[in-house]
């Protein structure tokens, strides 16, 4: 009964969004205020109804209503409470529902919290958002219906995929989807600017805030996904350049490029049309990625069974691309370039353009690599594979370029090639970076790298990251000095800059973390009970395979005692776990995390009859913790920047010597 109400509510949302889209479009053409208000009301109510429908689904999960097919497939009687909540988005229909719910809520929020200066473009914004909502709601009632009933009702569900029963996987989808849907608002504002024919006063501020919010959510979501892969999947890595990982990375790249483009637009009024394109493409690729992975076009760890959702997505994406392209082709000329003369040449602006180039090249490479198997099969008929080695051939170079651009770009000023106290800063940074690099090399034991190229890459990479960090910090010091170290004043006016500083430092820390992947120290060891293996200075003594039951699974743990130089350090117990509702054994990795490296072990095999013999894979993962710390730093930087007032400089079209 409740499920039927839920479905009916979603059906109402569909009707309301279609009405909202139609009314808002007409309101835009006729400049009709009341029609716009009606559209806005419809969209708001759709958001409220979607929330109620979601609550109904959650409630049904908790009362274990297995007459709803989705609940039957994704939960079971023994599912812990936390995972019963997250079962909502554990499969296609539910995750699509979550996405729709988020976009309805954010659309409502965007339509009620706009800048007064933007009032006349809001109909365009509403029309864009409502049309996306309408399509997503339509999918919810047709191909992706979470309320579909299943009779006769079973006593117990099929249970949740064991891989998903992990706290990181619990928060990764909502965080990531928040990022994707938040990107819809800058895209809607871009369409509005094109439709209206100009970029209005408050446009920049609103777009910047939403883009920042999306960026924070995307950064957090992506790194949470990486953390899940690290602790759950058992191959000792956190990023495999898997198609679904790539399809979350591409919107992140576009969002980053958008933020930098908005900076230039704010200071100089340039790159307006690039901003519009980036905002749209970021949003477009968030759907595109979902399309290629969920429709089964490319297989990936996230592939659900092929469903008719694929062709639907294709039509939507094609229509969206066509409409916005036509809009851009006909209306972009009305977005006038800035009044300032373009002082091309070496300046902060050109450094930012170089950054855009590097970011967009990375996006291209990731996109080409992800799509290449389909393309090559379509053209040559031969299947090819594109996995990590392809992407790892290019990404480090772009990373290198970005590290340099961060350092140089932040030190430069607008409209002048002169870096204030440039040589002093750079040499000072190099001198400060040397001891820091030495410390990193010593404590991180970088010299243990077996291969010379990998060693060289780590040394150079670490030095450049350290140098870049000091360039950033000295630049910050310079600006503080300009204000005579009045910190309160500095933070009142420059929160966006400081947030950027923190986020850039976070990225450098992350790159330091990535450099650890060059180390390549691992071992496979088969041990009898009581035997030890020496690995990277650790002594690992295998005791026995222990069977334990907790949560809702049976765990076979390969218990090892870890010691170093005779000092016992504790237990490491990588395990394989068996859940009652599924046949496979899953990995529970054993990790000893330290600041400088992780000792990572998985149980590949064990003697099932006696438990006295086991095969372990041992990995040394240096500087992995840096990546998780970097996530916090980057998100902190983003949050700081969100609080900037963005009053903007009204005289931004004037030529200024200082930035």
């Amino acid at each position: 009964m409740l499920a039927d109400i839920g479905f009916f509510l979603v059906f109402l949302c569909t009707v309301l969004s279609i009405y909202g889209a139609a009314a808002a479009t007409l309101a835009a053409f006729w400049r009709h205020r009341r029609l716009y208000r009606s559209a806005r009301a419809a969209i708001t109510v759709a958001g409220v109804l979607a929330t109620i429908a979601a609550l109904i689904l959650w409630y049904s999960f908790f009362i274990r209503d297995y007459s709803i097919g989705y609940i039957f497939k994704n939960s079971s009687n023994d599912l812990p409470a936390m995972y019963t909540i997250t079962a909502f988005w554990s499969s296609l229909e539910g995750s699509h529902f979550l996405w729709t719910l988020l976009i309805s809520l954010f659309s409502g929020l965007a339509l009620w919290t706009y800048s007064k200066d933007n009032e006349h473009i809001m109909p365009y914004v509403a029309a864009s958002l409502a049309s996306v909502m309408a399509w997503m709601n339509y999918l919810l009632i047709s191909h992706s219906d979470p309320f579909l009933r299943m009779f006769p009702t079973a006593d117990n569900g099929q249970g949740m995929n064991a891989l998903l029963q992990n706290p990181y996987m619990a928060i990764h989808p909502p965080t990531l989807f928040t990022g994707y849907t938040a990107l819809a608002i800058p895209a809607a504002y871009s369409v509005a600017a094109l439709g209206y024919g100009d970029i209005t006063e408050g446009w920049l501020k609103t777009t910047r805030r939403w883009a920042l919010f999306a960026w924070i959510a995307l950064t957090a979501g992506i790194i949470l996904g990486g953390r899940w892969a690290y602790v759950e999947l058992g191959w000792a890595g956190y990023w495999a350049w898997d198609p679904v990982e790539n399809s979350s990375f591409i919107p992140w790249i576009f969002c980053t490029a958008l933020l930098h483009s908005l900076v230039v637009q704010d200071k100089l009024g340039h790159l307006k049309r690039l901003t519009l394109i980036l905002a749209f493409l970021g949003f477009f690729f968030s759907f595109f990625g979902t399309f290629i992975t969920r429709s089964g076009v490319i297989s990936s760890v996230h592939s659900f069974a092929e469903s008719p959702i694929g062709p639907n997505y294709l039509i939507f994406l094609a229509a969206m691309l066509l409409i916005v392209s036509l809009l851009y082709a006909f209306r972009a000329h009305s977005i006038l370039p800035a009044e300032t003369d373009k002082v091309w040449g070496i300046s902060k602006e050109s450094a930012l353009v170089v950054t855009q180039f590097l970011l967009l090249t990375l996006a291209t490479i990731v996109c080409v690599g992800t799509l290449y198997p389909i393309i090559s099969e379509a053209i040559t008929g031969e299947r090819t594979t594109v996995q990590a080695p392809y992407f790892n051939a290019f990404a480090p170079w772009i990373g290198l370029g970005l590290v340099l651009a961060i350092a140089v770009g932040n030190m430069m000023r607008y409209q002048t090639a002169k870096i204030p106290e440039g040589s002093k800063l750079m040499i000072g940074a190099a001198l400060s970076a040397a001891p820091l690099t030495a410390a990193l090399v010593y404590f991180g034991d970088v010299m243990a790298t077996p291969k010379p190229f990998a060693l060289g890459a780590q040394l150079v990479g670490m030095f450049l990251c350290a140098w870049s960090f000091f360039c950033l910090t000295f630049d910050l010091g310079l600006r503080l000095k300009d204000l005579r170290f009045k910190l309160a004043l500095f933070f009142k006016r420059n929160l966006a800059y400081f947030g950027g500083y923190v986020a850039h430092v976070g990225l450098l820390v992350a790159i330091l973390g990535f450099l650890g992947n060059y180390r390549g120290v691992n071992k496979i060891a088969t041990l009898n009970a009581g035997e030890s293996v020496a690995f990277y200075g650790y002594d690992l003594k295998f005791e026995r395979v222990r069977v334990s039951e907790y949560d809702n699974a049976t765990h076979f743990e390969g218990v090892m005692q870890v010691s170093r130089d005779g000092r016992p350090l504790g237990e490491l117990a990588p395990a394989r776990s068996k859940y009652p509702t599924k046949a496979e054994l899953h990995h529970e990795v054993g990790v000893r995390s330290g600041f400088w490296h992780d000792l990572y072990a998985t149980l590949s095999d064990f003697d099932r009859s006696s438990g006295a013999r086991a095969t372990f894979e041992l990995h040394l993962n240096p500087t992995v913790r840096f990546v998780w710390i970097a996530a916090f730093i980057m998100c902190a930087g983003g949050i700081l920047a969100l609080f900037d007032r963005y009053r903007g400089d009204k005289s931004r079209d004037a030529i200024r010597a200082l930035d």
Partner: protein
């Protein structure tokens, strides 16, 4: 008491678990004999083995190399690689051996020949040719600004210079 329960649990699980064993990485069963395989990881043989095994994909997993995976198929491939490395075959020879049997799909990145060379050339081309192209089409459009901050262009300036020269009073030589 705990011990009989544990023993019973073990016995039950031995029978339950033995049959439907499957790796989480793929849906094929773990090779029960994989513990008998000792992969060479030390010395030149070990290095070569790791090198080659890193470049072959696990046919039944998504995204993993045969080195990273312990699925049955991967183990079989690793056996063959180990054999050939011990025989002294070079990396290219072993990769060619597998490509012959499975097609270029077995490699983790597209081979650098034929149509697939495009996959490698495109990123390098964008990285190298991109900046000059951007510079040519975008940066070169310089706008000339007169001292009053009025925008003009080379053509207008040339025309105005011409007219000014024409308007100048002719001086005697």
């Amino acid at each position: 008491m705990k011990t009989p329960t544990l023993f019973r649990t073990w016995m039950a699980l031995v029978f339950l678990v033995w049959a439907p064993l499957a790796s989480a990485q793929d849906q094929a069963p773990i090779d029960e004999d994989s513990r008998k395989h000792q992969w060479p990881t030390e010395g030149k043989v070990g290095e070569d083995f790791l090198d080659v095994a890193k470049e072959l994909r696990c046919p039944t997993c998504t995204g993993l190399s045969v080195l990273e995976s312990d699925a049955k198929f991967s183990v079989q491939i690793k056996d063959i690689v180990k054999e050939q490395v011990e025989q002294g075959k070079s990396k290219d020879e072993i990769l060619a051996y597998f490509t012959e049997r499975y097609g270029p799909w077995i490699l983790r990145a597209p081979p650098k020949s034929g149509f697939n060379a495009l996959a490698w050339i495109l990123p390098i081309a964008v990285l190298l040719l991109g900046p000059p192209l951007v510079w040519f089409f975008v940066w070169r459009r310089r706008r000339v600004v007169s001292s009053q901050g009025v925008r003009s262009s080379d053509a207008i300036l040339a025309e105005m210079n011409e007219r000014l020269t024409a308007m100048k009073p002719r001086t005697r030589a």
